[in-house]
């Protein structure tokens, strides 16, 4: 356990490898210090570094039923009320095109009592009419964020429908443009939107995705998201992984609070990334006291019995105008032994998150099979998910599963598909399947 100015990094692993063993894996728990990092005072000063954009779907379908557009207006106003004084913000409306609702000149307002009132008045005038081209909305948000050098940029995107008025390629290009520029939490209202579309956005833009089945719940959800965004004080933190020459990083996954595979997002081009031994993975912004778990897998060259090796050094790196700063670090080790009692010992943390990743995969495979009409696979996968959720004590996921299948025996995962499943329940299970529970510590 090492604590440098800002983050505590704890490594949970079994460092012992059998003779000829190459695979090392560890759960890395990263916790931001409870006080503002780097001596930066919170509140006022850091609010200057925050910028928020709320993107509201104003397509024609938001009027069917009209509660949706009403809820969107109310939720946006509620979120505006939570923005801290001094932070920058803007509101964007989207259809098959996108336009700035407030401020109307495409800039960002500084939050205070007057601008909040003006913004809410503008939001009250939102009407729904037109199509859905989410890529256009993201491009406008990106342009508005560029107008101010804020470091903590965050957007909330609300939609009720499918991305119909542009191609998937156009949406992908827009996501690519925004990647690394701002974070985005996505919410789908009703059941006519596509989980995979919003998940692509939220994954690339380091945010969350969820369903809001009932418009009445939207305002509370928006407030919570905005509070969460306002609590972030440390922008653009990267997880840096050093490995020995010729070692292979097999995976880097965030595993708590939710599974997010970062393996493919490795960058080796950062200013301090010193060649193929060092890769960096984006983790977004952090709030004081926030804690996340990562599962890191590395394949190293075989060492001799008794040899100890540093398999990976995991550091948290913050970028600022004055350069990069290492805020915390932990070491993943490997030691070769002939003692099988040591090398075969299963680390509970690693086993837990391996199970949680299997759980998420089983749910997604099961729902996909169910959509394709393959009841046998759906029953098998969702049954396995029930058993895994039960074993891991993931009660939230178990409850969501129980809305989709009738559970006969949760321990063995014996289930029957429900004859009637609400689309909203299926989508809720899909969006929340990546949420994990942490290992119970005694």
């Amino acid at each position: 356990m090492t604590s440098l100015s800002g983050f505590t990094v704890q490594i949970d692993q079994n460092p012992y490898l059998p003779v000829g063993g190459r695979d090392v894996s560890a759960v890395v728990t990263v916790t931001a210090d409870a006080e503002a990092t780097g001596g930066a005072p919170p509140a006022q000063d850091s609010a200057d570094g925050s910028a928020e954009i709320i993107i509201v779907d104003c397509s024609g379908s938001m009027d069917f039923p009209p509660e949706k557009i009403l809820a969107a207006r109310a939720a946006t106003s509620a979120a505006v009320d939570v923005i801290r004084d001094g932070a920058r913000f803007a509101i964007v409306a989207g259809t098959s095109t996108a336009w700035p609702v407030y401020p109307t000149d495409g800039s960002m307002a500084v939050a205070d009592a007057r601008t909040r009132t003006e913004a809410k008045r503008a939001v009250a005038g939102l009407r729904s009419n037109g199509g859905t081209a989410i890529g256009q909305w993201l491009r406008l948000a990106h342009r508005i964020f560029q107008s101010h050098p804020a470091t903590l940029r965050h957007a909330i995107l609300l939609t009720d429908g499918k991305n119909q008025h542009e191609t998937p390629e156009e949406l992908a290009a827009a996501i690519g443009l925004c990647e690394g520029s701002f974070r985005c939490d996505c919410r789908g209202i009703g059941t006519d939107w596509v989980v995979d579309e919003l998940r692509k956005i939220s994954t690339a833009l380091l945010g969350t995705v969820d369903i809001v089945p009932d418009p009445a719940g939207l305002a509370a959800d928006f407030e919570e998201m905005m509070r969460g965004a306002m609590s972030k004080q440390l922008p653009d933190v990267m997880l840096r992984v050093w490995t020995p020459q010729q070692a292979i990083v097999k995976f880097v996954k965030q595993v708590a609070p939710a599974i997010d595979d970062l393996t493919g997002r490795r960058s080796q081009t950062g200013p301090l990334a010193g060649g193929p031994q060092v890769g960096e993975y984006p983790t977004g912004a952090w709030a004081p006291g926030e804690s996340r778990d990562y599962h890191v897998g590395v394949q190293v060259n075989v060492g001799a019995v008794g040899q100890e090796m540093l398999a990976a050094r995991v550091s948290l790196v913050a970028s600022s105008p004055s350069g990069q700063q290492i805020l915390g670090q932990g070491l993943i080790r490997a030691t070769w032994t002939e003692d099988e009692a040591l090398s075969t010992r299963i680390n509970p943390g690693v086993a837990h998150y391996t199970g949680q990743a299997e759980l998420a995969a089983a749910i997604q495979d099961g729902l996909e099979a169910s959509k394709q009409g393959d009841e046998e696979t759906a029953t098998a996968q969702l049954g396995r998910a029930v058993a895994l959720a039960h074993a891991a004590g993931n009660e939230d996921t178990a409850k969501l599963l129980a809305k989709v299948v009738d559970v006969v025996d949760e321990a063995t995962g014996t289930v029957r598909l429900k004859r009637k499943v609400s689309t909203a329940d299926e989508m809720a299970l899909d969006t929340r399947s990546a949420k994990t529970v942490r290992v119970k510590k005694e």
Partner: protein, 338 residues
């Protein structure tokens, strides 16, 4: 024997522990601290002809990630009439044994002393425990010997000094612990003192008179002494290496054993950790390996004993210290050799 002081060049007397002119300690105890090294470099990368990539603060090569051997992995000390070798062995990641040696003259008579400690692997930071213990004990023992104290009292006081040093390492994370064995060789014999299962042997030039001078504080010896098991049965049990006395904050007032042995003939005193005697516990056999070389070149003989244990499997750290009796003091005594 009127060598000049190595610090200031002023002449010094044969009995002086300190220079009368500048106060420098003339023959401080030599300790296997691993600190003698310069910049560390990864030997495996160097052997492969790669440019040095640096070593991280935690001791890993920045290129291949391998743990770079620390100075403590293998160390040889030679203070003239006493010499020792400590080695990581083949199976342990680090060397948790430590030794300290010193030689001086009291009233013209040579006196040599040695301390060997074996860090308890199941305790936290055992390598620090053993090193702190030998350093504190050898310092205390050397001062007492120079002051002309009774060797038995000096030995008991040195254990207290070592216990205090090891106790100071304790933290909420646990109490580091180590075994302890010391020997003071003077003109008439040897005073031994111990806790745990590090041993002192008398290896006689007349091989069959060789004998062990210590009894282990271990479950094995307790079982055997109580007649409840044979040595073979006890050594085969999983508790074979469980010790019943040690240095550490979790055993606040260790009661060391102190014994005096006055050899009737020529031979050598051996101090060793269990990394050696696990492979050969019999005094006669050890004497056959060490003698007669140990009488004239104790360092080479100590290295040979270590090599024997490594070749036999090297399952644990190995430390051997040899002190010939009567003490032989070469004309030019190298203080420390690596």
């Amino acid at each position: 024997m009127t060598n000049p002081c190595p610090a200031c060049g002023e002449p010094i007397g044969p009995d002086d522990g300190f220079c009368e002119a500048c106060g420098a300690e003339l023959a401080p105890a030599a300790v296997s601290s691993g600190a003698a090294d310069g910049a560390l470099e990864c030997p495996l990368c160097a052997a492969a002809g790669r440019p040095p990539a640096g070593v991280s603060p935690e001791g890993y090569c920045e290129f291949c990630g391998r743990k770079v051997p620390s100075g403590r992995d293998r160390e040889e000390l030679n203070v003239g009439p006493a010499a020792g070798v400590t080695d990581r062995g083949l199976r342990h990641a680090r060397n948790e044994d430590a030794m300290a040696l010193a030689a001086t003259r009291v009233s013209g008579q040579p006196v040599a002393l040695a301390v060997v400690c074996d860090g308890v692997s199941s305790s936290p930071r055992p390598d620090e425990a053993s090193l702190s213990a030998v350093r504190a004990a050898a310092g205390s023992l050397l001062s007492a010997v120079r002051a002309g104290d009774d060797p038995a009292a000096a030995s008991a006081a040195a254990v207290q000094a070592a216990a205090t040093a090891v106790g100071a390492l304790a933290s909420p994370a646990g109490a580091p612990a180590a075994t302890y064995a010391s020997a003071v060789v003077d003109g008439t014999g040897v005073t031994v003192c111990w806790l745990g299962d590090s041993r002192v042997y008398w290896l006689s030039a007349d091989l069959s008179s060789s004998r062990r001078l210590t009894t282990d504080d271990s479950l094995v010896e307790e079982l055997v002494a109580a007649g409840r098991a044979t040595v073979e049965e006890a050594m085969a049990s999983p508790q074979a290496h469980v010790i019943t006395r040690w240095l550490g904050a979790d055993l606040p007032e260790p009661e060391p054993h102190v014994a005096r042995f006055e050899p009737p003939d020529q031979g050598v005193v051996l101090l060793c950790s269990d990394g050696l005697w696990n492979y050969q516990p019999a005094a006669t056999e050890l004497a056959a390996m060490a003698l007669p070389a140990a009488l004239t070149d104790p360092l080479a003989a100590a290295a040979a004993l270590v090599k024997f244990a490594v070749d036999a499997g090297g399952a644990d750290n190995i430390t051997t210290v040899l002190m010939p009796f009567p003490l032989a003091w070469p004309e030019t005594s190298p203080r420390s050799e690596r």
